[in-house]
């Protein structure tokens, strides 16, 4: 299925049924990452229950150096 991640259209396997699956697919499951799913900011415990669908908009952010 196709979803938009950080502004780019991406093809991801249909086995990515949830946000948790998507993070594992992207090898980001061990990272400190915050997910915004269709403009809804997810708490970590929501990753497994948030279903991924064709056309979804995903933002993946993290902490970087800043003042």
């Amino acid at each position: 299925m196709r979803v938009t991640i950080n502004g780019d259209l991406q093809e991801v396997p249909d086995t990515c049924a949830t946000i948790r699956d998507l993070l594992a697919h992207l090898q980001l499951d061990q990272k400190i990452v915050v997910v915004e799913h269709n403009r809804r900011i997810l708490q970590k415990e929501d990753h497994a229950s948030s279903e991924l669908k064709e056309g979804d908009q995903i933002e993946l952010v993290h902490f970087v150096g800043g003042g």
Partner: protein, 255 residues
Amino acid sequence: MLKIGPYTFRSRLLLGTGKFPDFNIQKQAVDVSEAEILTFAVRRMNIYEPHQPNFLEMLDIRKYKLLPNTAGAKTAEEAVRIARLAKASGLCDMVKVEVIGDDKTLLPDPVETLKASEMLLKENFIVLAYTSDDVVLAKRLQQLGVHAVMPGASPIGSGQGIINPLNLSFIIEQATVPVIVDAGIGSPADAAKAMELGADGVLLNTAVSQAKDPVKMALAMKLAVEAGRLGFEAGRIPVRRYASASSPLEGMSKV
């Protein structure tokens, strides 16, 4: 002790984490600074390079309070979104509200800063507001209930030091919450001066990260903040126009 909201800190130096030459130097600088509050920015991940190291992974983050900023926001709504993203990490509930109103000077937008602070306080964030050195604005922020006001000494990253000590002292004198001088500090003398004026803390980044030797400068800033604070508590002497002899005038031996 520095008290911000429910938290207490031994260190009065808050350190930013941007623009260090590399993570090793940054880690050493953070260590010697003894800072307990570290600022970060929130940005998109590079999903094409999932194994890229992240500075947070090098830290024992239980030892620090993370202070994410809302840098990049130009409106209150953008700032609130960034703050919510940061909090959803589960790692922090403090936020440095930073809403820039002018790209060239990076000076804060006072109206949007007030709006963002109000919205975030309603969501139970611990709000530290980056603001210009305006005493009326500081008062308005205090009335909203922010947990600290953070007036700039001079434009972000400029290293110009404290341009308007009078305005800073007005803010400090009327303060009902901690005043942390944020932005523009260039040298240890600037940091000590801010503390001598009675600031509760200093937040700096570029002055350390872009110094020739960031680790040594981190130590210098730690000492400067401590010295400035001690000097403030000790109470400096008044400035006199003419000399006042330190040695007794009586009892001179004569031939």
